[in-house]
Amino acid sequence: MIGIGFTLATLVAACLCIAIVYGLISGQHPSKFGREIAIGFGLMFGGILLLAVVVELLPVLFRSG
């Protein structure tokens, strides 16, 4: 059994790595790398969390009886 901390840490690490690579190959000015990486990370991490919440909520919302 692995803890939620480890799972979240790996999720953050994966999102950060993808955001850094995306930021570097997006062709932005070097001064905008930080902003690009932050936006990429926020969209990815936020999107995954939102998806997880929705997936958990759907059965509750559409529970019959």
């Binding site: 059994m1 692995i2 480890f6 799972t7 790996t10 690490a13 994966a14 790595c17 993808i18 850094i20 690579v21 570097l24 190959i25 997006s26 062709g27 932005q28 000015h29 070097p30």
Partner: protein, 176 residues
């Protein structure tokens, strides 16, 4: 043709294409990030025997000997009976092209790293007792590293073709 070579140099080491184009810092960061992802993934999915773990996930890999080279084409177990042509293509791509996606040098280093004693010191689990969820997280990291390196190679090709954009980037100006 030169642009193709620069692009394919990423199949040796991630970020090498960018370094060859003169974008050294960018190439170095890409190398560090993609290598760290791959090594982290491989570390989370080791196995007791050399060549096991992540590298044995699909039973055979590019490092296996001559006798095994035809194995992916043969029906060796019951699962293969259910396999369609697209599954076969994907399996062959994974076995023979994935090492180049991730960078063949990284692949070889990871292959020997995952059977080393340092992995035992790093992981809180014994080999063979690692939870499936941890192994799957490791696989995701390693596979993701290969896919991202594909994007990096495409970007290196794009920069090599568009010399004007490259010149702007080398001067530190805005490219896009």
């Amino acid at each position: 043709m030169k642009s193709l070579g620069i692009s394919l140099s990423g199949a040796l080491l991630p970020g090498l294409g960018h370094m060859l184009l003169g974008l050294r810092r960018r190439g170095a960061v890409l190398f560090v990030v993609l290598t760290a992802m791959f090594m982290f993934g491989v570390t989370l999915h080791p196995d007791a025997e050399r060549g096991g773990g992540f590298f044995a996930k699909y039973k055979k890999n590019i490092l296996h000997t001559y006798q095994d080279y035809q194995a992916p084409f043969q029906q060796t177990d019951r699962g293969r009976d259910l396999e369609g042509p697209i599954d076969t293509v994907w399996r062959l791509v994974f076995i023979y092209l994935y090492p180049f996606f991730v960078g063949i040098v990284n692949y070889l280093v990871g292959f020997f790293w995952q059977s080393s004693q340092y992995v035992d010191a790093l992981l809180p689990y014994r080999r063979g007792e690692i939870p499936v969820a941890v192994k799957d997280i490791g696989d995701c990291f390693a596979l993701l590293s290969g896919l991202l390196n594909l994007l990096v190679m495409l970007d290196a090709h794009d920069l090599a073709v568009n010399r004007e954009t490259l010149a702007k980037m080398q001067r530190g100006g805005q490219a896009a």
